[in-house]
Every structure is written in structure tokens, then in C-alpha cells.
Symmetry: C2
Subunit: 403 residues, 2 copies
């Protein structure tokens, strides 16, 4: 692929072919069913080139021909759709109280979605590696039984993950300097496919970008809504990680000077006044990680019943969240900010106040165009994003070898 950003890179013909394979694959992903002529007309590639590229993609079982023909004047055309069914990409999410596993094929079809309770907040890193490896082995067994080729496993972790996949710190898991990618590769006995580790918010925003209703937007921020609040940042269509991979740490933005004390020692940080702990401040301030979900169920029940104290708490949380989102919006001017995790269930009561504060705190009119919404992907967004990250490699031209 030609890259004009990182210094001189030649554009030789191998690059051009890899880039064009990726162009055709992405075109079919977005426009299937479509014909070879459609591809040629829309991409500007000539028909002979398109035929050769399509043949290659069919050989790799990334595309397949359907019996369908288009209604058109002249000879009926064979239509192409995505295949990718022989492949599986696996995403696993590590949380303070559970693990999630997702497998998808290259057309984005979900092959399985599992959830296991897991004492993330108290387990040692070694126990966590063993639990993740055990879950991964079960998923791999299922994929093998189905005759699928596994492209890789990506693991989402709520913490600072450096560019090598090492977890520098994950406060809610009690981890420091855990080489999860290396440990897991060894636990899986060097499985011959990539094992990646990434920040959960980074992976969730990749899932939103690929599968969510705002996928067309070039500038997207995802906010995880748990005990911690982290951001995944897409600008100009790509995940932005910063120099060492630590971008997105929004949890300690000062939002409310008189607010609750944060575990960082200061007062009024975003996650102290707008995270799950703030939601449960009055009703269950000492809930353990495993108790958070039942307690939140109760909050939702009370809010639905119109309980004034609950609604006041959620409105205050929404306002604090909106002030944090305004900082983000002024700095990054995203098209959309997507609230994930527990915020999804709380959205009916949290979002209105958050939107008001976003509008009030934005320097540009109409919040600079930034729209604030809740995620539609559910709790497993980061696991789905982990699998999506493996798909992204394919779409940017790193195709699986022919089998």
C-alpha cells in the first residue's frame, strides 16, 4: 500500500495488487451483491484487472459467486457476495467480574457469543491468563469442530496497554506490567496465529466503526461505562493510539471540583462523578464488582418506576458525564460520541442531562456537530471489536494465504 505519511515508500506493482485486492474486498463488503462490472465502474479499475482480482479472492474463499443475476439490459451478470465463512476471528474481553468471548466469520456473522463469570478484580494475573486460555481453548475447539480456520485471538483489557500488547496498568484488575499477549501465547502453546492484546475502549470503538449505525462517521469516540471510564478514539477513519498506545485516558478529567473523591486521590474526576460508583453512591456504595449488575438492575427498576431520588442521581451523573464529553468534543470535534457498557441501560435518564451539558460546554454552536448516543452493540462491544481488529488486517490487504 502506498503510504505518504511515514516517509518515502515505493509504490511497486505488488503493493498495487495487494491494495487493489483490498479495494475489491471492501467494495463487495459494502455493496454486495454486486457484479464484476459494478466493481469496475465504481472503482475505476479496468474489467480484466477486476476479473483477475475477483478470481484471486474467490480462490481464497473471501468472495463467492451467487446464482443471482441482476435485472439489466444485455447478458445477465454473475453476482458476487462476501464469503469468509471458512475463517473465524476470536475476541475475548476481560472484565472485573466476567469474561466474554465472541467469534465471527469474515462476513461479520457472529458464530458464538459466550459469557463466563470470573473474579477479575481479585484474581492474580496468572489466574486470569489461565482463565482466558481455558475459555480460548473451548472456543478454538468449537471452531475446529466447525472446520474453520482461526485467523487470531484478540483480547480486550480495561487498562493501559502498550504497543507491544503488554498491559502496563489495569487498576480495576489490580494488574501492573503483565505481558498478557506473551503469557497467553505460551499458555496456548504457540498456536500459529496472532494473539493480540489491546485496550477495551480501543477495541469497542473499532466494533462501532465496523458494525454500528455510525460506522460511516470518520471521527468517533467510544466511552466505556463501568467502574472506570475510558475512551477509544477514531479520527479520520483510523484508531488513534498516540505515541506509546496510551491515548484515550479520559477518566480523570476534572469535571466537578466539589465532587466525590476519586481513587486517584483527587476530587471530581470524570469516573468518580459519572462512573458506575457514582450511580450507586446512595444505594450501594460498597458493592463488589460481582454485585454491580444486580444493583444496577435495581437502579433501572427504580428509575422506571419514577423514583425521584434515583432520577435525580442519574440526572446528576448525566450532567457530570456531559461536562466530560464537552472537554472531549472541544478538543477532538468528533462526529459522534457513543456511550457503552452500563451507560446503555441508563441512557434514558442519563442522556438528556448529558446532552444539555455537552451543548452548554461546547465552544462551537450545535456542539460542533457532535452527537451523543448510546451504543447498540451491547455489553460485548470490546470482544466484538477484538474480532473486528483481526478483520481490519484482512481489509487493509493482509489476506490469508491460499489454502
Amino acid at each position: 500500500m502506498i503510504n505518504t505519511h511515514t516517509g518515502p515508500q515505493p509504490a511497486d506493482f505488488t503493493d498495487v495488487r495487494a491494495a487493489n485486492l483490498a479495494v475489491v474486498l471492501r467494495f463487495v463488503r459494502e455493496n454486495a451483491p454486486c457484479s464484476r462490472a459494478d466493481i469496475a465502474a465504481s472503482t475505476g479499475l479496468n474489467k480484466a484487472t477486476v476479473s483477475s482480482l475477483v478470481a484471486d479472492l474467490v480462490d481464497r474463499r473471501l468472495l463467492r459467486e451467487t446464482g443471482l443475476t441482476e435485472n439489466r439490459v444485455g447478458r445477465p451478470a454473475t453476482m458476487l457476495v462476501l464469503d469468509g465463512s471458512p475463517y473465524a476471528a476470536i475476541g475475548i474481553e476481560v472484565n472485573a467480574d466476567h469474561l466474554t468471548a465472541v467469534a465471527i466469520d469474515l462476513a461479520g456473522t457472529e458464530l458464538l457469543s459466550w459469557r463466563r463469570s470470573f473474579p477479575g478484580a481479585t484474581a492474580t494475573p496468572g489466574q486470569a491468563v489461565a482463565a482466558v486460555a481455558a475459555l480460548a481453548r473451548r472456543v478454538l475447539g468449537r471452531m475446529e469442530k466447525e472446520g474453520r480456520r482461526v485467523l487470531g485471538i484478540a483480547v480486550a483489557v480495561p487498562g493501559l496497554v502498550d504497543l507491544t500488547g503488554s498491559v502496563r496498568t489495569a487498576p480495576n484488575l489490580g494488574w501492573r506490567d503483565v505481558d498478557l499477549a506473551g503469557d497467553l501465547t505460551r499458555a496456548l502453546r504457540h498456536p500459529g496465529f496472532p494473539v493480540l492484546v489491546d485496550n477495551d475502549a480501543n477495541l469497542a470503538v473499532l466494533a462501532e466503526h465496523r458494525f454500528g449505525p455510525h460506522g460511516g462517521a470518520g471521527n468517533v469516540v467510544f466511552l466505556t461505562g463501568g467502574v472506570g471510564v475510558g475512551a477509544g478514539v477514531i479520527m479520520d477513519g483510523r484508531l488513534r493510539r498516540g505515541g506509546r498506545g496510551f491515548a484515550g485516558e479520559i477518566g480523570h478529567i476534572p469535571v466537578d471540583p466539589g465532587g466525590a473523591e476519586c481513587r486517584c486521590g483527587r476530587r471530581g474526576c470524570l469516573e468518580a462523578v459519572a462512573g458506575v460508583r457514582a450511580v450507586l453512591r446512595d444505594t450501594a456504595p460498597d458493592a463488589t464488582p460481582a454485585e454491580l449488575e444486580p444493583e444496577l438492575d435495581e437502579v433501572v427498576r427504580l428509575a422506571r418506576a419514577g423514583d425521584p431520588a434515583t432520577i435525580a442521581t442519574l440526572t446528576a451523573v448525566g450532567g457530570a458525564l456531559g461536562r466530560g464529553v464537552a472537554v472531549l468534543a472541544n478538543l477532538l470535534n468528533p462526529d459522534v460520541v457513543i456511550l457503552g457498557g452500563h451507560y446503555v441501560r441508563l441512557a434514558p435518564w442519563v442522556l438528556p442531562a448529558a446532552r444539555d451539558e455537552l451543548a452548554r460546554g461546547s465552544l462551537a454552536s450545535e456542539a460542533g456537530g457532535t452527537v451523543l448516543v448510546e451504543s447498540t452493540l451491547g455489553y460485548g462491544a470490546a470482544a466484538l471489536g477484538a474480532a473486528a481488529r483481526l478483520m481490519d488486517a484482512i481489509d487493509s490487504g493482509h489476506l490469508p494465504a491460499q489454502t
Copy 2:
């Protein structure tokens, strides 16, 4: 150019040639003097292709041959260097109290650098357009006299500039919804080259990226240091503007809840506690824009003389600035944050406290690798960046037509 971010784009051979012309041009920019063989060896392009590309660039007077030969075994090689001398890119910066104009050739050599006092804070937009047009005409006259071809004029404005070059709001100029690019094009009677308008911090960070000592860094933030504080953000080697072009508005990050009142009505915003007004709070709280520089001269004099009150003020400003930079660093994880404008002169007293607060407020150890430094480009960084933006177009393959 092949673009894998914004949907299918063909990679045909015209694209490849344009991209390769840009590859050769950038290689020579970074490695001159060098031979055709050096280019071929480093870029992977074959020698015949390199010869053809170089011939094209010599025809356009973007490269020229020198009499130099390399010490090597075998036939001596003709060495190539950048030319670009027949061209000029013009940058103009609009400030609250002055205008700056810079012209550079395509090798980055400064052709002129002018500064004119100008009552930006009180002038109407119409008066500002007239003043900028008058300055531009003088620069154009000089370039014409020198026989140079003008590639364009870019204007830096301290405010929200949308993607069409329209200034939505510029608080320190008192502007709202000024179509500066259009007005200036008309005032210059449709000069036949592009007239661009952009945010001053955006252009300054482009200047740092091209001409500054941290140009090799992929993730760079520039902070303007004036009455307002704005950020220009480069991530992964490219300026990031956000969805509507409003990214970089960092001035109203809450930094000090008990701090000074901000013109936005809240207390303790970054620019209220760390901008120029905070520096002059005790000595000249009511200084007009034209008086800021002489007052700052006095602050520098007192600081140099070791005046305790002055040093305490500058240390407090540095601490507040560092808290704001920590928010930025946690969110974007830049390699470097560069302080511009008035901060450059104040750096000896402001930087130590700012660095302490950055380290304290960063979630990652060692501030996540973020280095905080002062600009070495001086006051005209935005004007220089305006010219650099025109050079960027050339370097990404939009070459001037042959003359």
C-alpha cells in the same frame, strides 16, 4: 494516491506515478545531496523509473543537478538537490495586535518575514480583510519582482475555522461568521492561486512538524500562548481537524476550580489561569492587546532579576498549564507538546512547574513518554505553518504544472 480509509479507491497507474513523484521529492528533501542510484536503492523503485521521475521533477524545477559527485567506486554520480526556488508559498497570521507575513520557497528557505502592527482586537472584519489584502499585495509585488511563481496564500486566524475556510468565531478578534477566504479572494481580484484560511494552532503545528526539531515525531500537539490558548493536533503524522474542523479547543478545560473568572463565565478555565492574562493578573490586569508585549517584557525583566512575586506568578501559571497539558496527554498520548507564542519567552520559569504537574497528572508512568518543550520557531510559527500547508500539497503529489 491510494486511500484505504475513505472507501474503495482505485490504484491506477496515474496515481502510482503521482505518488512516486512525491516519494522521490520527499526522499531528496530529507537526503540531499543524493544520486539517482541512492533514490533507487532506498525506495525500491527501479533505476529507469527513478530516472524518468527525476527528469520530470527537474523539468518542473523542483529538483536540480549539482556539479558535486560522490566519492565512490566506479563512475561518479551526478548529485541532486531540491530546487523549488522559482516558487513561493505565502503565509499570513492575523493576531489581536499585529499581522505577520512569511514567504518561503519549496526548499523551505525563508524569502521574507514581515511584521506589521494592526488593531486586530478592535478592527471590523472588513478592515481586517483590507489590511490583510494590503499586506498580501505587498508580498505578491515582491515575489513578482523576484520572478517567483506564487503557489498560494494561507492565512492563520485565532478562532474556529470550518472546513470551507470560513471563520465561525474568533473571540479575541470579535469575529463571527466571517468568510475570510472568500472576502480575501475577492479583495485580491481572484488571483488564480488558492487562498486558504485555517486555525492558527493547526498551522503552527504543521510548521513544527515540517521545520521544528521534533518533526520526526508522529504525535505532536502545539499550544498557542496568547490571550487565548488553542491546540493544533497531529496524530500519526497528520493534522487532525475533527468532523467540522473545530478540533483543538483546549482553552476552556477546567483546570483550577477556585481560579480566576474566564471570559466564558466559568472559573478556572485553562486560558483564564494559564494564558497571558493570568501572567499579567497582578501587574497589568487591564492591558490592551497592544500593551501585552511591553508588559510581558517587564515580566521577563523582573523574572530575570529574581523578583519573588513574579517568579511565584509564573510558577503558578506553569502549574495550571501543566494540569491542562496532563488532560491532553492522558487523552492523546502525544510524543511531544510544544508551547508557542508568549510561552516561549516565559519558558525558563513556566516549564519546570508545568513539567511537574504533567508528570503528576499522567496515568502512564513518565507522562506516557510525552515531552513538554517550548517552540524554537518564534512568534511567526503560524504564518510559517500557513506556507508549510501549501508545501504539503506539493509533497503529497499535487505538483505545480510544468511551466
